[in-house]
């Protein structure tokens, strides 16, 4: 079973600002909220999936999106205390997406999201087209290997293997032996 941690960003924000505001704006607020998320992620075991839930967040501005979303994703595949953790961003709405997409583009990053009202997960941000196809094939099969993805997508096996490795290094896919799966916990 894949361990999973749920982090309610809205609750952290409310606690940080004495319950006054629900909008995640300003770099100072973003830094404060992110440092609390980091502490929770550090407690999770390496390889764990953390669901960072934006359901109770109103507005998200560019500075906060950069400070929280982009910084956390960078740290997951850097040499940082939260390296080798997997993050699923949940409770994302259209109002959050503008800022998130902007910072992902500027930083050349991608992440896995689950939009409010939709059960399915999606990959957003900057990835190569082959990587996107491979990622979607893995999510469709739930758990699979390079040969099966190559057969199912008619992509070259080397290209599929390279894409799987790249997606794993970016913590957009999990690897178990020779098989890959999306970073969702068992109850997600």
């Amino acid at each position: 079973m894949i361990p999973m941690v749920n982090i309610d960003v809205g609750a952290i924000l409310q606690a940080s600002l004495n319950g006054t505001y629900t909008d995640l704006v300003t770099r100072a607020t973003g830094r404060s909220v992110r440092s609390q998320i980091e502490r929770l992620l550090e407690r999770a075991a390496p390889g764990a999936v953390s669901v960072i839930d934006f359901s109770n967040v109103g507005l998200l501005d560019f500075s906060c999106a950069d400070e929280i979303v982009a910084t956390l994703m960078r740290q997951c595949h850097d040499d940082s205390p939260i390296a080798n953790r997997y993050i699923l961003f949940a409770g994302i709405t259209e109002r959050h997406l503008d800022a998130i997409e902007h910072v992902l583009e500027r930083n050349g990053l991608a992440l896995v999201v689950r939009f409010t009202g939709l059960g399915v997960i999606q990959l957003i941000g900057v990835v190569r087209e082959t990587e996107r196809q491979v990622w979607e094939a893995v999510v469709h099969e739930q758990r699979t290997d390079a040969a099966a993805v190559a057969a199912g997508t008619a992509l070259d096996l080397t290209a599929v293997s390279d894409s799987l490795q790249s997606l794993y290094q970016k913590r957009l896919l999990m690897r178990e032996g020779g098989e890959y799966r999306a970073p969702v916990g068992v109850v997600a």
Partner: protein, 300 residues
């Protein structure tokens, strides 16, 4: 020595330059009379810049209240005198504001000194966003959140870079020369300005070519920041992303330069409508930074 500074009848970002030109002719400790008694119209940019002007003086200037009662009353409702009374010696009668329910000013002049102020402004602006942006200006409903984000980023410029507090104001009005309703965000401070803020991290690269204009290009066009860590400089790039979508206008004045992102409705306007240029240098010096964002309503 006392100098009289004549404030134009119509005070906006363009005509405010004449005020700066006049002020620049006098030393910082000279006593100034900012004579607005003939002024009949002011934009948010003008109000916030007038506060910056007073804040930058060593000797408290005099401010002469507009003689037209409806004008003075509007300036009072905009919150101008609430702050001007601390910064200026006011000459003339300041109208008393009585609350009659909802104000005709979307966001009166509000002081920004820290992150908490930005949270408050973003919260307040959203209370009437739908009524003003969607019902009055007939814009896309997706603009509600994007507008608040734009405001947030513009205000953070003060918190992150000015080194002292500043002001923000938001208002809708009819831009007569183009015949459209617009919403204007004005964010101004009399702080260190872009050149000084960016100099430690950027000036060496440019050597003799480092200037107020170059600093504005680096920050506004290239999204550079004085902070070295990755991801900084989101503010202006994010604002420009939305302005491209809305065909909005952005101007930033700092020091002796002014940069403008010019929308199609201004470029394509009739010949008699004053047009901006992308970069102006060699202007009279004015402290801090004055940001103006104009978003047009849907054309009739």
């Amino acid at each position: 020595m006392t100098a009289v500074i004549a404030v134009p009848e119509e005070l906006n970002d363009r005509t405010f330059e004449s005020v700066i030109d006049q002020v620049a002719q006098h030393p910082a400790d000279a006593r100034l009379i900012i004579d607005a008694h003939r002024t009949s119209f002011g934009t948010p940019y003008a109000f916030t810049a007038l506060l910056c002007l007073a804040q930058s003086r060593m000797t408290k200037p005099v401010f002469t209240v507009p003689e037209i009662h409806s004008t003075a009353s509007y300036w009072a409702r905009c919150g101008f005198f609430r702050f001007a009374e601390d910064l200026y010696e006011i000459h003339g009668k300041v109208p008393t504001i009585r609350s009659h329910g909802e104000s005709d000013v979307w966001l009166p002049i509000t002081s920004i000194t820290g992150s908490e102020d930005v949270h408050s402004v973003v919260g307040r602006i959203q209370e009437r966003s739908e009524a003003i942006l969607v019902n009055e200006l007939k814009t896309d409903s997706r603009m509600i959140g994007r507008f608040a984000m734009t405001l947030s980023e513009a205000c953070q410029n003060i918190v992150e870079h000015a080194g002292q507090g500043g002001w923000v104001m938001v208002q809708t009005y009819t831009w007569r020369s183009i015949g459209r309703r617009v919403v204007q965000i004005a964010v101004a401070d009399a702080g260190v300005g872009f050149t000084a803020s960016l100099a430690p991290s950027h000036a060496r690269r440019f050597g003799d070519r480092w200037s107020d204009g170059r600093a504005l290009e680096e920050a506004v066009v290239k999204g550079q920041s004085r902070f070295a860590e990755p991801g900084r400089g989101q503010g202006f790039t994010g604002i420009r992303r939305f302005l491209d979508h809305w065909d909005g206008k952005l101007t930033v004045r700092s020091g002796t330069a002014r940069i403008a992102i010019i929308p199609s409705w201004e470029r394509d306007a009739p010949q008699d409508v004053p047009k901006d240029v992308p970069l102006r240098e060699g202007l009279s010096s004015f402290p801090g930074a004055q940001v103006q964002i104009i978003i047009p309503g849907k054309a009739a």
